[in-house]
Amino acid sequence: MSEHDTHEKSRNVIDDRHPVADPGLEPHQPRLTDIDEHAANRAERQVVLAFALVPVLAIIFVVCYFAVPKTWEVNFGPLHANALHVILGTTLGGAILLIGIGAIHWARTLMGDHEISEERHPAQSSDEARAEALEIVEKVIDESAVSRRKLIIRSLLGGVGIVAVPAVVLLADLGEWPTAARRAETIERTIWAPELKPGTNEVAKYRYIVNDITFKRIKASDLRIGQLVNAEPENLQELHGTEFNQEKAKAALVVVRMDPNSIRVPDSRKDWQVGGILAYSKICTHVGCPISLWEQQTHHLLCPCHQSTFDLGDSGVVVFGPAARSLPQLPIAVDDEGYLYATSDFTVPVGPSFFERDSTKDFRKGDN
């Protein structure tokens, strides 16, 4: 490396690339601190001040860490925060920042600022090096006897390749296998399915619809026209932890009461509703967000994640957005006391689609 030998080769050469001769590095312009001793001393004092404030802030940090109670609040302008948090952050941040400011001020004002030039070398190796390397590689191949005994290398490559198979197979237990049987018990089913008598197809117990916060059963007569209630199956309370979350992620329901004259109920779904009270899956058929924005006047339900919009007055068909399938509707009925319950599970899997999903049974606009 040579600091002063600058690109003599290219300078003053005029070619296609350089129609103007290279005038060479511009002469060094002295800074104020180079020529004025007072300015230099002042810069030194500033640098020292920055560095000297660091221990001061560090001490404040430590003292406050132990002295300031965790409950103090700071309310100043737009800042509403825990006082200890703000003090620790500003003192630590200030201290770190001052180290940086001091170092850069020092570099810019007092350190030598002469630009120097360094020669570049092409990335590629010299021709001799290439030739020698090639010779060595040839020798390596020769000594390993690979070229004469080809079977060795072939069997080695085959062997190494095959070892990848056990490595991949080891990952097969990463999760459950979503076989058709398993899918039918998980993503294609919800806990709305009525409990059956063991060994038969007879229903032992229907699932009541309960408010999702109070878990109280919902009475048909308590719903006003235009009202939407978030609901869950009553049996969700029996679950805990992971299972609770998994089932809640599929079973979440919206129950809505609309004026029966203002909605279109297809013949096939006449018994799925109770006098304008309809129940739909709350899980968007797009990527599975819980849909929550209800437009009372238009009967539209809007997903806040990607704005898919479904018409609850028309069997949940998509009216706008990226979702491709209608919101699954839950067939409901009312018991003698007026409480709502599900007469069966959803007839199609809820939530986002998956490859093996049979989407021919979903309700399409115009179906009857």
């Binding site: 965790k70 570049r120 999760g175 992620a249 967000c289 704005q307 986002p352």
Partner: protein
């Protein structure tokens, strides 16, 4: 015990260290620092040969430009992520087991939640400095990705990815891709309502992959969503696997910067064969080191004063809830936007479902971005046919097509990103949400097209203004009044240094059909079609590129500016004639475009 050590030290300096330093510094007494360090230095040199390393690298040259700091910002914010992240791991529990919260945040006490969320609350409210570290970690992560993107754009627009730096470009593309995954894994960990919603989105995304989606979903989540293992899995990926890969890639990235030496902008004394700047020690080390502390300090202050991700406000994850305005961290915003504005394309074939409405924008689009980024250097090299090494950066104006492509890509990204906030746009500006969505569906195609053309014209105009400056001189602000009463501004030739800087860019020629075929003339039709395609691409790439001035033109122009005031118009005609003889396509463009400029200058004479 001390004796043998003191005896051996001067001994070692005599034998090992002295010959190293002697030739450069002849018989000068060592200063106090060197004297103190000579013992340990000699000890280390005898074992690991640090003197040679020091000789080679202590004065290594780094050029100075503000835009070269962007990569440093990314590096430093990554280091801050590591430091603050280590602190967080000491308390965070990556477990989805359900517990009842009994901590000091009153509003959530007694609620069931995962241990992950509860320990995040503990970090935020009970560990002194915990909230500071959490917020610093999040801000640093946002800055890390932002700085990587900004650095990538700088490298792209200045052509710093060209030979010999293509491998380093690919390492950078890998770093951005994996950095985004790392960020996503991180913000999924607290298991709050927002991050759980994000995970559910990813669940839908994975499911949408044709053929294997359901299997991948079950393998990633262990069972049906949400399962109980995704957070432990994301945790180990976030704190060990991905940071390890990032560290490896960063090391290789930096090693290649050292090996290639940094690129530099054109300027007097700066050529393809050298690198001009400040030595590593002391100036560059002080500046870069100081800059690390400035970034660190700023992020600490942001962590102290600017709230980010207040998970206690969202509450624990509840699969039946979501907040309006739910959005991912900024760097995933464009994918979110694409998913939002995508039409509802879905195939139902037999008993299978093909969710293009999720798969195309959610999975393929990201793949497309990184594929285009990875391939670009090679495509450009193929089109331009330029296979030489490049160490001088190009000003964006001097490569209009690349700049136009980059700006079009940015505008496309920007439209997708806007779409990620289509609900916010609709509510803030009181416009129809559906209208915003439909407009953006068109805008993601139309806006890049417009931006392409506008950028290209701006670049070419800027090149012409450089040519104009060289041909007609720089404005002085001095107004001359002629005897006839006319006023004209005096022009002076630009300095040699500026003229050199303005003319140091590459001279581009579109590929010609005959030229490339000398060696492979025997080859059949296939080669020719490929070559024909290349010629077409090259003609497109260099279309309208103004020709470079020759040395004669510049010399003549300088002469003209200095002495040619009296008979301005004639000289201009001559000059243009000289230009024309140079004759490439692009050049005729300038002369055709010249009359306006001509009038302006002529009237000033």
């Amino acid at each position: 015990m001390a004796r043998p050590a003191t005896i051996s030290t001067p001994d070692a300096t005599d034998t090992a260290a002295a010959p190293e330093t002697e030739p450069n510094r002849p018989t000068k007494p060592l200063g106090p620092v060197l004297k103190a360090a000579s013992g340990p230095a000699a000890w280390a040199d005898e074992r690991i040969g640090i003197a040679a390393l020091g000789r080679a690298s202590l004065r290594k040259v780094f050029p100075d430009h503000w835009s070269f700091l962007l990569g440093e910002v990314a590096l430093y914010s990554f280091i801050i992520c590591l430091l603050s992240g280590i602190f967080l791991t000491l308390w965070f529990k990556p477990s989805m087991a359900e517990i009842e919260y009994e901590g000091s945040y009153q509003l959530l006490r007694g609620l069931p939640m995962s241990e992950a969320f509860a320990s995040t609350l503990t970090l935020s409210f009970d560990i002194r400095g915990g909230l500071l570290m959490r917020q610093m970690h999040h801000w640093a992560a946002m800055l890390f990705v932002a700085a990587m993107f900004a650095h990538m754009l700088r490298v792209f627009f200045t052509g710093a990815f060209r030979k010999p730096r293509e491998i380093n470009w690919l390492l950078g593309v890998g770093l951005i891709a994996i950095g985004m995954v790392e960020g996503f894994a991180g913000y999924s960990l607290p298991d709050d309502l927002l991050s759980g919603t994000g995970l559910r989105f990813v669940d839908g995304l994975i499911r949408s992959i044709p053929l294997v989606g359901t299997w991948l979903e079950f393998f990633v989540f262990g069972q049906e969503f949400p399962g109980d293992i995704i957070i432990p899995r994301l945790y180990i990926a976030h704190v060990l696997l991905i940071p390890g890969i990032i560290l490896g890639l960063v090391s290789a990235h930096l090693a290649l910067v050292v090996f290639h030496k940094h690129t530099q902008f054109p300027g007097p004394g700066r050529t393809e064969k050298n690198v001009v700047g400040y030595p590593l020690f002391p100036v560059y080390a002080a500046k870069a080191g100081g800059f690390f502390f400035i970034i660190f300090g700023m992020i600490t202050l942001m962590g102290a004063l600017m709230q980010i991700n207040p998970v206690w406000k969202y509450g624990p994850y509840n699969p039946s809830q979501v907040t309006a305005g739910s959005q991912p961290d900024w760097y995933m915003g464009w994918v979110e936007g694409a998913v939002r504005i995508m039409p509802d394309w879905e195939w139902h074939i037999g008993s299978t479902t093909w969710s293009w409405n999720i798969f195309l924008p959610g999975v393929m689009l990201m793949g497309l971005l990184f594929t285009v980024m990875g391939l670009y250097p090679f495509i450009e090299q193929w089109v331009t046919g330029n296979k030489s090494e490049h160490h001088l950066l190009e000003r964006p104006r001097n490569n209009p097509t690349r700049t136009a492509f980059g700006m079009a890509a940015i505008s496309c990204y920007g439209m997708f990103w806007l779409a990620g906030g289509n609900d916010i746009i609709a509510t803030q500006f009181h416009v129809s949400l559906n209208a915003v969505t439909v407009v953006l569906r068109v805008a993601v195609f139309l806006v890049p097209f417009l931006v392409w053309h506008i950028t290209k014209r701006i670049c070419i105009s800027l090149q012409r203004s450089d040519i104009e400056k060289l041909l007609h001189g720089a404005e002085t602000g001095v107004i001359d009044r002629s005897p006839q009463g006319g006023y004209a501004e005096r022009h002076v030739p630009v300095s040699d240094a500026e003229a050199f800087t303005l003319t140091e860019h590459l001279k581009y020629e579109p590929a010609q059909l005959e030229a490339g075929e000398d060696e492979n003339g025997v080859e059949g039709d296939a080669a020719t079609t490929k070559e024909k395609l290349r010629v077409k691409a090259s003609a497109f790439y260099f279309r309208d590129q103004p020709a470079k001035l020759t040395s004669e033109e510049i010399a003549e122009a300088k002469e003209h500016i200095l002495h040619g005031h009296d008979h301005g118009d004639e000289d201009h005609a001559e000059l243009d004639g000289a230009n024309g003889s140079n004759g490439t396509n692009g050049h005729r463009e300038i002369t055709a475009g010249e009359p306006e400029d001509e009038k302006a200058t002529a009237s000033s004479h």
